[in-house]
């Protein structure tokens, strides 16, 4: 078997990605898209932001180019750089530039992780100029109407260092995401994994227990993603308590006392 190889700008999503909408986020995103406004997705990890973007890309039938930002990400990583090929230097577009050229959707995940100086390269793209300066080529790349910029940001890490600058955040239409309500979250788990409804709702209850612990021992509670993981293990005949331990508790913390406590919670529930 071979994996399919695609250029990022050719990455069209063919089948509808399952996304359960929580409020009016789809309508708002589409309106922003029509009005050529960039969008900021706020929300904790694993609450469906990436899935939402895939769903949107499918709806709009535009290629989706995702960049996960990290603290080494430079402006050239986004825009492009010279490479040497066969003894000659040639220019290679970075993902942001390819997305602009292709008129696709560029999604910069966890934007605050990127270096501060990297973040400003998106500024001219994110205001009404809609251009990407490519300094090395001495060019300005003008974005076509189809191009769309979206970034994500988790305000939960209340760290002084990882705050989004006002000059950045004030360029974006913000959509707030959070873990879905219990009923919706249960449905999501059922649909994603085929687990039965009763176990799914217990998993959600368990998630709420861990979310109660946020701030008193845990940095974050269990995300929808972790619940999906646990549910998948359970459908493969792992006992619920073990699944909660391996897929959720261990993912949340290394603190042994906390691990025991979370285990006690899950064994109380199942």
């Amino acid at each position: 078997m071979t994996a399919r190889v695609l250029k990022p700008e050719e990455y069209y999503i063919e089948n509808e990605p399952y996304y359960e909408s929580i409020g009016d986020e789809i309508e708002v995103f589409e309106a922003a898209y029509r009005q050529k406004l960039p969008v900021l997705l706020k929300g904790p990890t694993g609450c469906g932001k990436t899935r939402f973007m895939e769903h949107i890309a499918w709806r709009l039938q535009k290629p989706l180019i995702t960049v996960s930002c990290h603290d080494d990400l430079t402006a050239s990583d986004l825009v492009g750089r010279y490479l040497v090929k066969g003894g000659e230097t040639t220019w290679v577009d970075g993902p942001l530039a390819s997305a602009v050229r292709a008129g696709g959707i560029c999604y910069l995940d966890e934007i605050v992780e990127a270096r501060k100086d990297t973040m400003v390269v998106i500024h001219p793209l994110a205001d009404d100029r809609r251009v990407l300066p490519v300094e090395k080529l001495g060019e300005l790349l003008e974005a076509p109407d189809e191009f769309c910029l979206a970034i994500s940001y988790n305000p939960g890490y209340q760290s002084v260092l990882k705050d989004l600058k006002q000059s950045t955040r004030q360029r974006f239409v913000a959509l707030e995401f959070d873990y879905p309500g219990a009923e919706l979250e249960t449905n999501i788990i059922v649909k994603e994994t085929g687990i039965n409804h009763e176990l799914a709702s217990k998993l959600v209850k368990f998630a709420h227990m861990t979310r109660n612990l946020k701030g008193s021992g845990l940095e974050e509670g269990a995300s929808t993603r972790l619940l999906v993981h646990a549910a998948k293990l359970i459908t493969d005949d792992v006992s619920p308590v073990t699944a909660c331990h391996c897929a959720i508790a261990q993912a949340l913390t290394d603190d042994t006392e906390m691990l025991v406590a979370i285990n006690e919670l899950s064994s109380s529930l199942f």
Partner: protein, 707 residues
């Protein structure tokens, strides 16, 4: 190696006599010594060590300990003897000798000796896990604390220091867990929504009435737990079975069914109790049936209810205020708020909070949500009088804001500990911590606006210039890295070379790029400055000068820093002086505070290390440093002198290290005393023997520390 021979009765007696100060206390040690003489040497040493530890707290207590311990020896294992002794010492710390002696004397209750295997679970060992467990459950967050009886006042769950009803530690832990769950269920499922004290007053036999109510209420709560935490409920059944408590008398069977219905309330249980009282005998309490302390519950609730009412009303007033700010046309008068419970079976509470203003739903602020949930937990609903926004000046804002009270006010009251941070302290004689021992407050320094800073800068102007230059070179900087495998620009030199190589036919390097690399320092540092009385004079001045120079350099460097002073007057008056907090800029005010640093009381160090570690840990940084500036030996008015203070300081530094902080101690001490290596062992340290050198050296030390 041959086992050491046991001590003789006489030898033991001599040791005990000296530990217990028999010369003055006239205690008789012959009898316990005779019993100890029959033990192995190891056992003897063990008991004598514990006598010594208890004696460091109180001699009478130690005497009682030894007389009772010899009786209990064969029936208890060591872990339990230790828990018992420590509990007695804690009781002594908290409530005095009388209560502590009681703990010692009731050793037979302490562990139910009937069961042989001594497989108890100890509160102190389990409190971490149980605390997280309790927080994970929904509703108001409950704290855990130790007490002789098991109950809750609706904010704290009190549990016994040790549980040993069941044969294994696991089962006894389970019993703790069940107790926590049941007490949580009391607060969560409305046991206290009825005013039991009113009922009991009308009853001729209040105790029996309460016992019957408890039997029935426990059945209701068990059913709640069965629905909510089925796994735990199954475990609770096995607990009952192992204690033969699982047979419900026939008269209770049908009642139990009724009580198990989801919509049964505590009110219904009360009704049922009234109906059945006199006809039905209360059941013997189940192993996980807590006691009800009605008075404490009602006092605690009354206080909270009053407070939460104020807070809700103030919050509503704030909402109106905001609305007016946004929209000038918005009238402040005559608006109607409402908070409703919208049933939603899918949420953990079974409902959601909806806040409306003039029948239009608005998003409730987080605080209103939390408050509403807590109020509903207490009262079942939000009463109308809660929905009237607070008028201007109607409440003293200090009543409801979590603001710290003025330490001086607190000191004059009876509750010395109210509003303070409580920290443990290490008692080396006990080889254990004294819990919540130091009451620590942060207080402000009165700024003194004078020319101290300017004249210091002038005095050291040459040094300042030098420091600026040195430290500028250490700043975060972008460095251009050459000959990189990838990068932002082409390294022309490398490329030319490579092309030439290619021409020659030799292998071409792929290191052809230049790349900017940011070297980030990402350091947070706290300076902890000795403000004890002994710093009066030169040392104080040197400290202040050092802080001025340090601030200058750190401003150049861009590292985040905070400065605090510390001093103490006995354990209940430990003070931390705010000189510069992390988020404060270095400005005239800060300079005036540095100038205003004055010698205060004694040098109690442990609490300061603990408190400042705590502050430091809240800051996001790759490297955290705690630098203490002091003039040597810890010393305080109570027993903090000598080894006690040295050992506690050492401990606190160890704790800091364990939390990933780098402690560093700078001491001004002409004699370079021999305890320093031991005390500062967990930290790195420098001793400066000439006070005047301090300002010249600190910046240099800091530079070495961070490069």
């Amino acid at each position: 190696m041959a086992a050491r021979p046991p001590l003789t009765a006489l030898e033991i007696e001599q040791q005990l006599d000296s530990l217990l100060d028999v010369e003055f206390s006239f205690l008789k040690t012959a009898a316990p010594a005779a019993i100890l003489a029959g033990l192995e040497r190891q056992e003897q040493d063990y008991i004598i060590t514990w006598v010594q530890r208890v004696a460091s707290t109180n001699i009478q207590l130690a005497y009682q300990f030894i007389t009772h311990a010899v009786d209990a020896l064969d029936s208890m294992d060591k872990r339990i003897i230790e828990a018992w002794a420590l509990h007695a010492m804690d009781t002594y710390d908290q409530t005095g000798l009388y209560k502590a002696l009681e703990v010692i004397r009731t050793v037979r209750n302490f562990v139910q000796l009937s069961h042989e295997r001594n497989a108890g679970a100890v509160f102190e060992e389990q409190v971490g896990v149980l605390g997280h467990f309790a927080h994970g459950l929904s509703g108001r967050k409950l704290k855990l604390a130790e007490a002789e009886i098991t109950y809750t006042d609706t904010e704290t769950i009190y549990l016994p220091p040790l549980l040993a009803h069941l044969p294994t530690p696991d089962q006894n832990f389970l019993l703790y867990k069940a107790l926590v769950a049941l007490l949580w269920a009391q607060t969560r499922f409305g046991t206290f929504r009825i005013k039991l004290s009113d009922q009991l007053q009308q009853q001729p036999e209040p105790e029996n009435f309460l016992a019957l109510f408890q039997s029935l209420e426990t059945l209701r709560l068990e059913a709640c737990l069965e629905r909510e935490l089925p796994g735990l409920f199954r475990d609770m059944q096995t607990l009952k079975t192992s204690l033969a408590q699982n047979n419900l008398p026939a008269a209770y069977q049908s009642l139990a069914k009724r009580l198990a219905q989801a919509d049964t309330t505590a009110e219904d249980v009360l009704q049922l109790t009234c109906e059945q009282f006199g006809k039905l005998q209360p059941l013997p309490p189940l192993c996980y049936q807590p006691s009800l302390q009605i008075e404490e519950v009602e006092a605690c609730m009354a206080k909270r209810i009053e407070m939460e009412k104020i807070r809700v009303r103030v919050n509503l007033a704030k909402i109106l205020e905001e609305m007016q700010k946004e929209n000038r046309a918005f009238e402040q008068q005559e608006h109607k708020f409402d908070i409703k419970k919208i049933p939603d079976p899918t949420t953990p509470d079974g409902f959601q909070i909806e806040l409306t203003l003039d029948d239009q739903p608005i998003a409730p602020p987080e605080e209103v949500k939390v408050l509403s949930n807590s109020i509903i937990q207490d009262l079942g609903d939000i009463p109308d009088e809660y929905l009237v926004p607070a008028g201007e000046g109607e409440y003293d804002p200090r009543v409801f804001e979590d603001k710290q009270q003025d330490p001086d006010d607190v000191w004059t009251g009876t509750y010395h500990e109210e509003g303070a941070f409580l920290y443990k302290e290490w008692d080396y004689r006990r080889q254990h911590y004294r819990k919540n021992w130091c009451a620590v407050r942060e207080v402000n320094i009165t700024p003194v606006y004078d020319d101290f800073v300017d004249s210091t800068l002038h005095k050291y102007s040459g040094l300042v210039k030098h420091l600026r230059k040195t430290f500028e070179a250490m700043r975060d900087e972008d460095r251009l890295l050459k000959r990189q495998v990838y990068g932002d620009g082409v390294d022309i030199d490398a490329l030319v070379e490579a092309l030439a190589d290619a021409h020659d036919g030799s292998e071409m390097s792929d290191r052809l790029f230049t790349r900017m690399h940011r070297v980030e320092r990402n350091i947070a540092v706290v300076f902890m400055v000795d403000m004890s009385g002994s710093t009066k004079g030169w040392i104080n001045e040197a400290e202040r000068e050092s802080l001025v120079l340090l601030s200058e350099t750190l401003e150049t460097l861009g590292d985040r820093y905070a400065i605090y002073g510390f001093s103490g007057l006995a354990r209940k008056r430990c003070e931390i002086y705010r000189i510069k907090e992390f988020d404060e800029p270095y400005n005239e005010e800060i300079k005036a505070r540095i100038s205003g640093i004055q010698p205060k009381d004694y040098t109690r160090m442990g609490f300061a290390v603990r408190h400042l570690s705590h502050i430091l840990n809240e800051v996001e940084a790759r490297t955290r440093i705690l630098i203490t500036l002091s003039d040597g030996k810890p010393d305080d008015y109570d027993s903090y002198r000598g080894d006690y203070g040295i050992e506690d300081t050492r401990r606190a530094l160890l704790e800091a290290r364990r939390e990933g902080i780098h402690p560093y101690c700078i001491t001004i001490d002409r004699e370079a005393r021999d305890y320093l290596p031991h005390m500062y062992g967990p930290a790195a340290y420098t001793v400066i023997d000439e006070v005047r050198q301090l300002p010249l050296k600190v910046s240099d030390i800091y530079r070495r520390l961070t490069t």
